[in-house]
Symmetry: C2
Subunit: 370 residues, 2 copies
């Protein structure tokens, strides 16, 4: 198992990640507190799609006391947006709607340019604005959502980043991110740019505002540096809530375009592409023959179609349980399970693609400018 901000491979052992990264389990009692404050439940909490956190309890206590806080998450624009990228965004929208807080969304075109040898700065900049359409399409509150494209907001970010960078030695950045002497000097500095939005709300409003980061757990190392630095700069430590990865169509691990376009579903895929990809590639927990499947049943734990329903596309627990039980008993075949997912994904994408086109006119209002 390898889990870094740049690579996720092998069979992911999430319990071990909590131990290795030094984060905390998202306990049932903490989930209940979120739901109570939020006024509504969310299936990603009930199903432990979000499973780990840092100081979420502190943030909730402050929220009780009326202290302000803000959400911060983002996207590295190395290609088109796929469903795996959007997993934390769905949950972030739930949090923004429930708590009525500001969201700062950082699109790291500088990082993707610096770490991808085949991408030009023009390409990552263009991808940043393309990817932002997917965020806007989800219907985030336009008055409280601020999209940061790093190279277009660098004046403000850089001023904060140098304050962070002054407190981080090269050896510390090497240890946390696995940098070597061959790493380019832009990447070595870049964790400071990634940390900057943790403190941006406090800087912009001139009062302490803790940030909460919903993100996949592989991004956690960035916040460890931001958290170490926070007290030295006089800002609140960033809290975090960590999700699992949406598995690739091909099976366990994180969905990633770099493995191959056929293992992912993009937000711009046509209904036919979605159907083809899921039918052809979605890893099945079914048996090798119809007869055996009817007798022994399938395994929903490894079946990607079932997992996608569980993680994103079937919010209704009762319906999900029926799918689970029918598949496990052998009553439901893999082809039928896949068909359920295809319908769910295509229904989502139909609406999303319409909203995505409408987002082109709205986007400028979301972009933070300095």
């Amino acid at each position: 198992m390898v889990v870094t901000p740049w690579e996720v491979s092998g069979n992911i052992d999430y319990a071990r990640l909590i131990k290795d990264f030094g984060t905390e389990h998202l306990t049932d009692s903490l989930i209940k507190r979120i739901e109570k404050e939020a006024g509504e439940s969310h299936f990603m909490l009930r199903r432990k799609v979000f499973f780990s956190h840092r100081e979420l309890d502190v943030l909730l206590k402050e929220h009780d006391e009326g202290k302000p806080w803000a959400l911060y998450t983002g996207r590295g624009p190395s290609g088109k947006t796929h469903l795996g990228h959007m997993l934390p965004w769905f949950f972030t929208k739930y949090l923004q709607d429930a708590f009525d807080v500001k969201l700062y969304f950082q699109i790291t075109d500088d990082e993707k340019f610096l770490c991808k040898s085949d991408l030009s700065a023009e390409e990552t900049h263009s991808l940043a604005y393309d990817n932002a359409l997917d965020l806007v399409a989800l219907g985030f509150n336009p008055k409280k959502t601020f999209v940061i494209v790093d190279t277009d907001y660098a004046k403000t970010l850089y001023k904060i980043a140098i304050r962070v960078a002054k407190k981080v030695t090269t050896s510390s950045a090497k240890a946390v991110f696995g940098f070597t002497n061959e790493t380019n000097i832009g990447m070595v500095f870049w964790p400071a740019m990634q940390a900057a939005p943790c403190f941006l709300p406090s800087v912009l409003e001139g009062r302490p505002i803790r940030t909460l980061i919903p993100a996949a757990i592989d991004q956690d190392p960035y916040w460890r540096i931001a958290r170490d630095i926070a007290p030295k700069l006089g800002y609140p430590k960033t809290a975090a809530i960590h999700s699992i990865f949406l598995p690739s169509l091909m099976g366990p691990g994180k969905m990633s375009t770099s493995i191959g376009e056929h293992t992912t579903i993009f937000t711009t895929d046509s209904p036919e592409e979605v159907e083809q990809k899921i039918m052809k590639y979605a890893f099945s927990g079914g048996r090798s023959s119809l007869k055996e499947h009817r007798e022994k049943g399938g395994d929903p734990e490894v079946d990607v179609s079932y997992q996608w329903l569980r993680i994103i596309f079937e919010p209704d627990d009762t319906k999900l349980k029926k799918i689970h039980d029918d598949y496990k008993s052998g009553k439901m075949l893999t082809g039928e399970l896949k068909q359920i997912l295809i319908e769910k994904v295509n229904a989502f994408l139909k609406k999303h693609q319409e909203e995505r086109e409408r987002a082109r006119d709205k986007l400028d209002g979301f972009i933070l400018k300095d």
Copy 2:
């Protein structure tokens, strides 16, 4: 002898620096070419105050062919401006006036914040605008002079700097600048910010514009990285013309506030302070007794007052020669020599301080904004 962008100490052997740094001697024939193109001579060329260069010959050839070029120099705002800082500025003004070219002047408040543990970002930012007054006071062409305060022009600089940074490994930055694993990650990245203005004129005008950097030779390592990178980014290599250091009042080496305020003269010093400092501290090439001085004469080569006249304050070769000969013969005493320098410095500072106050209203027009 230690000569790096951050430290200059020991007895400076300029011939060895040319060899160590791999620059070229500024030959008499090249000086003649500059003077011919410029239409007038400059005492700093005749006296080899500027003594080394990189590809100045290439730049002059292109100038002959009508190709555009621009000047680039700057200032690290770690304290008040002193006369040593201004040495290259006087010569830069000669070049701007003679060749009617644009000057980009970078004030590196980010670097000084990053490398000085006792300076806050607010302090270096404030010093940047204070130091800029000294540049404006010298009468640079307001239509062709662009002052860059790094943190206030970071959006444009960062976009160029990441293109540079992507081509520079950590080990290469370590080798050139003596960085270690204990160096903070802001400093490791910073050479890319320093290199950015080399390419800025080409970026802003959308056509290749070579830059020429007049600077003290200790700054040369920055341009080596910029020069290595230039062809990879498709920009002309930066040319350079290097000066010696103005010696400290206490004797050989580079004048530096960090040694002690009494070894330098600031642009804001009063006539009394100037007189006191020179009378008390200016290292003398005189003999230990009046009798011995009259008999054997003084040594203008080590006398700081004489050297300051030679390097900055007595442009008239005939007058300088008379001072040299009178001092060397013993006809002129150290006190008399110091008095000549005091008058010259105070005459300069009287006018400079008036212009410096006027510069407060003009400054904003010089600042490059993004």
